[in-house]
Amino acid sequence: MELNAKQTIAVKEEIHRLKLLIALDKSSYNEKRGQGATINDLVGLCSEIVEHQHQLRLLQLGRFSELPYVFKLQFPL
């Protein structure tokens, strides 16, 4: 799919935002593990990381139609 200039910027910004979110999620995960939380306690946080990683990968692969609804609005097929 060919992206216009606006869409290209939107993708770059979204990739940047997701990378930051993942870094924050991982930092939070490691901090809580350091404070003694068990892996079972942190399954929810792990799910969030998984979702963000998945969205990031879809963006990087250009599979925009599989992205969540709000972001997909910028890529009408």
Partner: protein, 134 residues
């Protein structure tokens, strides 16, 4: 730390097991379930890999996301631990999940929450570790 994969069931279509991770002091960390190809004499693309001790290292690619490379597998290349739900998604690699389920009523097992299992491994495991497959 190290990992221990115990293969619990093997038939003509798949091999299932449990991969457990332990600290250097042998305390259990966590476990994931595994799904592999059946044992077909280590034939490329269609057989699971032989039992033994392997060095495993972390990697990332757009195709597989976070995954792990199993090094120095006899007569095999690019054997990975990666996400995937069905045995046909593996060409000898080890698929991992938080659980296994009977996906079609014919006991063709599928992994559950595979991405979560890989993410957990990425968060918890060091850059390289030993894997003993039994």
């Amino acid at each position: 730390m190290y990992a221990h994969l115990i293969r619990t069931e093997s038939n003509a279509t798949f091999t299932t097991g449990t991969m457990s991770f332990y600290t250097d002091s042998r305390s259990p960390m966590f476990s994931v379930r595994t799904l592999e190809r059946p044992w077909l004499n280590n034939m490329r693309k269609i057989s699971c890999i032989p039992c033994g001790l392997y060095l495993v290292t972390k990697r990332y690619s757009l195709k597989h996301g976070h995954h792990f490379l199993i090094q120095n597998v006899l007569n095999r290349d690019a054997i990975l631990i990666h996400r995937g739900n069905h045995v046909h998604e593996s060409q000898g690699c080890i698929l991992v999940g938080m659980g296994l389920q009977d996906c079609d009523g014919f006991k063709n097992n599928a992994t559950l929450d595979s991405r979560k299992a890989i993410e957990l491994m990425d968060l918890e495991l060091p850059e390289s570790f030993n894997l003993f497959i039994q």
